[in-house]
Symmetry: C2
Subunit: 702 residues, 2 copies
């Protein structure tokens, strides 16, 4: 664990420290003392003999012993020289908090490049510059130069935070202190000249103090490594992420519908999903989920028991749970009977279970533990309103015991002011997370269930992308297109390309004249279609360059002539490469499957229903490629139009497995053929049985 020195160093130098109360390094120096770091801390500053009453050293070269970690807070222009001294002194770990680097313009960017080069040459690990650095209460590390009376420091705990924003991190630490949520490590990595979110995720995955990893990200720079590190981490502990900046530009210049639809954010979400990272949508959710994961096991499923002493809030909780895809199964009959006999008639013995305002702590215990043990539920949402006198501090023990008895997560909701806040402290002292509204409780249960799903899913080694059988032939197609000086394949080329790779595409020939066209049609099975082939005609239909449903050689002959006339009229200057004569595919359900290549995350695959569904309604799903069959099946289930695949108005259901196979193969295509920038099957025609047919395909090369 090469980053250990940042969190648990044997000694620290603080470079730039002085006794000036506004001096950043001085604040950090004092902060390390205040935070309880008891190992040696050396102030370094050529202009002072002492700092905080201890000897101050002119340079790290003058220190009595080599510090394991150095915190540098000198003005940006001095940092490269300072860092070279560190290298000379053999110091391997530095946090550069100073601002004035790439975030501030060209001059700063040059300085940052210097810093990067020095670090690299000297095998140094550097966090920053332009960052708050590291907070680790168990080891007393605190490089936050934010005032303690404003940003309180949270106590030790198991939540580790990796934040691209310093303000986000400091607010979170302050709020965690206020809410009693313990922190293991918190790192703001700033301009990530060296140590990135990826390195930190990798480190925290193996950090025994870290129980949950909470990420605040604005951008990810190395998508592949991110997915790898986050996947490994998420197999060990929950990883949650808040992504700011959702409205980025589209990923690719749009040469396909897929390119126009896939945005940076969609790609990032696909990466989260692939890596088992649970995305949260709001700051409240971020804090709520971090607390829940710190204190609670994941839920093994989506079946929730709701117990309440306020009917209205029980109803609202049920609404919120159902909205989030959770379920509220009825009570097991046997227990329902028992509870009806045991409780007053005005209790509602059902799910939600309404104990009414006449209840007491003990009632909750009688209900929750036994019902969670019954096997009918995966978790409980307990609404305990404290307006009821006999709901007391003791609820803490009741809920903790019920959780232990049931062996399932228990999430509490209590709504109200002063007494509720007071009671919450008690309940949370037993690590039962309490939330201030039914919706936030429901949202947390959804996260716990999502985590359960991630834990349960089989390890998904990236599917090995075995060479396609027709790979050599396909590469020849690519070569020919390149040699013709084009980046977009003509339709015959694209069809050949996917055909030799084993996708199902209609048989076709290229004809140079009308007689060839008729001969080709006779060789194929009628009906056939004719399509003009020209690098100058991207949209054939617009110039009358497509004829479909031709049933006889006479039809073909007439259509050929009409089509060529129309094209000659409407695109007189187009170079004509011939005419594609193609057997018409059997009618099927129209789908769209496409893929683009993201500069950070690599190949991204999109799936949706054909036509307006994808283009207008954006009813599409994304995954990073290569992808496993199960992921492709998830994509199919995920879209709203999925109902149509199950059979609609009496039509038989579509062979989803075959569709998933095509999605995976398209992902494989993008993975193997790095030359391909975009590929799109639109429409892909799917059938009740057998592989779907690529009715139309676009392939764009880089």
């Amino acid at each position: 664990m090469t980053l250990d020195a940042f969190f648990n160093p044997s000694s620290i130098a603080v470079v730039g420290a002085s006794d000036d109360p506004d001096n950043l390094a001085g604040i950090i120096f004092q902060g390390l003392k205040a935070g309880g770091f008891e190992k040696p801390v050396y102030p370094v500053n050529p202009r002072h003999a002492t700092v905080g009453g201890v000897p101050c050293y002119p340079s790290v070269l003058d220190l009595p012993a080599k510090p394991e970690l150095s915190v540098i807070a000198t003005p940006a222009p001095t940092v490269p020289a300072v860092l070279r001294e560190h290298a000379a002194a053999g110091i391997r770990h530095a946090i550069i908090v100073s601002a004035g680097f790439s975030e501030s313009g060209e001059e700063g960017a040059r300085l940052e490049e210097d810093v990067r080069a020095i670090a690299r040459e000297n095998w140094m690990r550097v966090i920053g510059p332009n960052c708050l650095g590291v907070f680790s209460p168990s080891t007393g590390i605190d490089t936050l130069f934010v005032p303690r009376d404003r940003i309180q420091r949270a106590g030790r705990g198991s939540v580790s935070v990796v934040s691209q924003s310093g303000a986000f991190m400091s607010c979170l630490i302050d709020l965690a202190a206020y809410e009693g949520i313990g922190i293991a490590r918190a790192v703001n990595f700033g301009n990530r000249v060296d140590v990135s979110e990826i390195d930190l995720i990798d480190h925290l995955a193996d950090d025994p103090e870290t129980g949950v990893i909470a990420l605040y990200l604005e951008s990810v720079e190395e998508g592949g490594r991110f997915v790898e590190a986050a996947s490994r981490a998420s197999r060990k502990k929950p990883v949650i992420a808040f992504k700011a900046g959702k409205r980025g530009a589209a990923v690719a210049a749009a040469r396909s519908h897929t390119g126009a639809i896939v945005g940076r954010y969609e790609t990032c979400r696909a990466a989260f999903r692939k890596a088992g990272v649970i995305e949260v949508g709001t700051f409240d959710e971020f804090v709520d989920a971090a607390k829940a994961f710190a204190w609670s096991e994941p839920a093994g499923g989506r079946r929730v028991l709701v117990v309440t002493n306020g009917g209205g809030f029980g109803v609202a909780a049920a609404d919120a749970l159902l909205d989030r895809g959770l379920t509220l199964p009825p009570l097991p009959e046997e227990q329902e009977k028992r509870f009806k006999a045991a409780f007053p008639p005005f209790y509602t013995v059902a799910n939600p279970f309404d104990l009414t305002g006449s209840t007491c702590d003990e009632d909750y215990g009688r209900v929750i533990g036994p019902l969670l043990s019954s096997g009918a539920y995966d978790a409980a949402l307990v609404i305990a309103l404290t307006g009821v006198k006999r709901v007391t501090e003791k609820m803490a023990d009741v809920l903790a015991l019920a959780r232990a008895e049931g062996g399932k997560p228990v999430v509490a909701v209590s709504v109200g002011g002063a007494f509720t806040q007071y009671a919450k402290r008690f309940w949370e002292s037993r690590r039962v997370p309490v939330y201030p509204s039914p919706e936030r409780g429901a949202q947390v249960l959804a996260a716990l269930a999502a985590r359960g799903g991630i834990v349960a899913r089989p390890a998904r080694p990236l599917p090995s992308v075995s060479p396609f059988d027709g790979e050599e032939e396909a590469r020849a197609v690519v070569r020919d297109v390149r040699e013709a000086g084009r980046s977009a394949m003509l339709e015959d080329e694209a069809k050949d390309f996917v055909h030799v790779l084993g996708f199902s595409a209609p048989d076709h020939f290229v004809a140079g004249d009308v007689d060839e066209a008729v001969r080709a049609a006779n060789t194929l099975a009628y009906p056939v279609a004719l399509k003009v082939l020209s690098p100058d005609i991207p949209h054939k239909t617009d110039v009358g360059g497509v004829r479909t449903g031709l049933r006889t050689s006479e039809d073909v002959r007439r259509a050929y002539d009409e089509m060529m006339d129309a094209v000659a009229r409407q695109a007189p200057d187009a170079r004509i490469h011939g005419v594609l004569v193609e057997q018409m595919a059997d009618p099927g359900l129209e789908l769209i499957v496409g893929g683009i290549r993201d500069p950070q995350f690599g190949p991204v695959v999109m799936f949706g229903m054909g036509g307006v569904f994808a283009e207008v309604l954006r009813d599409v799903a994304f995954r990073l490629a290569p992808l496993a069959k199960e992921e492709a099946l998830e994509m199919i289930r995920e879209i709203r139009g999925a109902e149509l695949l199950k059979g609609f108005r009496g039509s038989p259901p579509i062979d989803a497995d075959a569709v998933a196979g095509t999605i995976c193969r398209l992902g494989g295509l993008l993975t193997v053929f790095e030359d391909v920038a975009e590929v799109e099957f639109n429409p892909l025609l799917a059938y009740p049985e057998g592989p779907p047919t690529v009715a139309d395909v676009r392939v764009a090369l880089k």
Copy 2:
């Protein structure tokens, strides 16, 4: 204002009071004293001579003076007799807090009927039974029998709460006390034997102390009156609503797709929309919006300025605002230039405006007031993180002044723990609402903008539903169907029905044999369609009972024979009324427009794109009928598929005005023909110009 006596009575009797600390009436008696009610309060209880040290009276008939209001908390079985005594004593207003009525079974329901009858016979107004009653701090009324150490009482203010749930109301009052939100009136109306949410809305609309009406509803009993009262109230002050129990059963037994899609909740939302009620989705939103409306003007539009001292939160706020349909226009050029000259280069002079951690209170003032005055923005979202030393309590004045200077709403966000909570009190003392996360701030701005839209919209008197020209003929169709003993119209009847009412439907004849069919077809313009007419064949296509695209009389002859053969084979016992011979409608964009009749809210109209869009994707909009043209146009804009009406892939845009006209007329149809339970045009074919054609129609009678 007949309900005044509930909120500001000149004297009160508390019936059932004793000195037992668990006695509800006793708690209420003490609570009135503790709450500052200084006018006479008489305890009534035949079993006690004094209560709380003052004389107690055996019955309301024995009181020294007639109380204006009585609070009854005696056991349910005694209540009818008690209430009769009230009638005899001439007491006109009673709050019955006692439980044990319709909520507890048949016996209770009978007691409740007695109570209702007594109240009605004696012109009494009754709140309850089974309720917490009324809380009105400015007049000292507090009938809540919940302990003050658990449920703190909020101070006076302008938020009035009407709640169907007692627990919801008491938690809210407690939270309001904690958060410093003032309450005008709060009423929990329980089993609403007399005074309902509608009466209360009506009263509060005219209550000068009430600035905002906040509703918690589980059900609405009289939809029409609700819409009327809420519409009147929302023209005077903001009305917000939280609806619990969203997953109710569908409204109608599904005889049409519309019937299957429209649920109780959708109807309720349509009612809110019609009435200018702003729906909130979560408890947090409910409290957040109530505070904002109490302290802030509505926003005149959706253009938001974001000012922050933490970049990450600024980005997150922008995401959240854009998600909610708000916009972030760039700074006016002139001002951008000025700010760039005035501020340090590392401030981001843009929208979001990032003042960074180097900022101070004054910077906010320099930015917000002038930019809000510029006319470029309708509101400001101000993120002021208190980790920055020079962001202080004074921000309260800065923000209040900026708001005054700009004349626009200012909503603040501050994220953090102890100091943030402390600072928030200061800021909120100037009635600048502060929220704990960027998303909650954004949500509040969306509500303020929604309110602005409601304020700005012209008064919409319900469109007068003038008699349809063909009303008499249409009634004759209904009569014929009734006389035939059917409730579903055959297709020819339904087509006749809508045709005589002025909807555009294809010309058609009913033919009794093949020769008549051919004659009919020759009279119409080819192509034509044939459809079998039988009360026993609801789904004609399934039995081969539809033939389309017939172009010659030969086609018609052959199709007729084939069709009748098919029907005879597949539905041998069906009574055949003949064959509909119909001119085929020109191809157009397929829409669905339907309507059902809700038992509470009356006619509800649904609009969506045809086919799978409505049925599978549920991409539909709802409104109550009758509806104004502008509402129909809103419905069209509201669905995700609206893009398709704007022209898609080169097709010309659809005549949305004509579609809106058809939607309104369908609403009118349901309003005028109270016999019609469901009507559905599916598909309705829409064109670039002119009225859409009703290609298929179902009409079901009650």
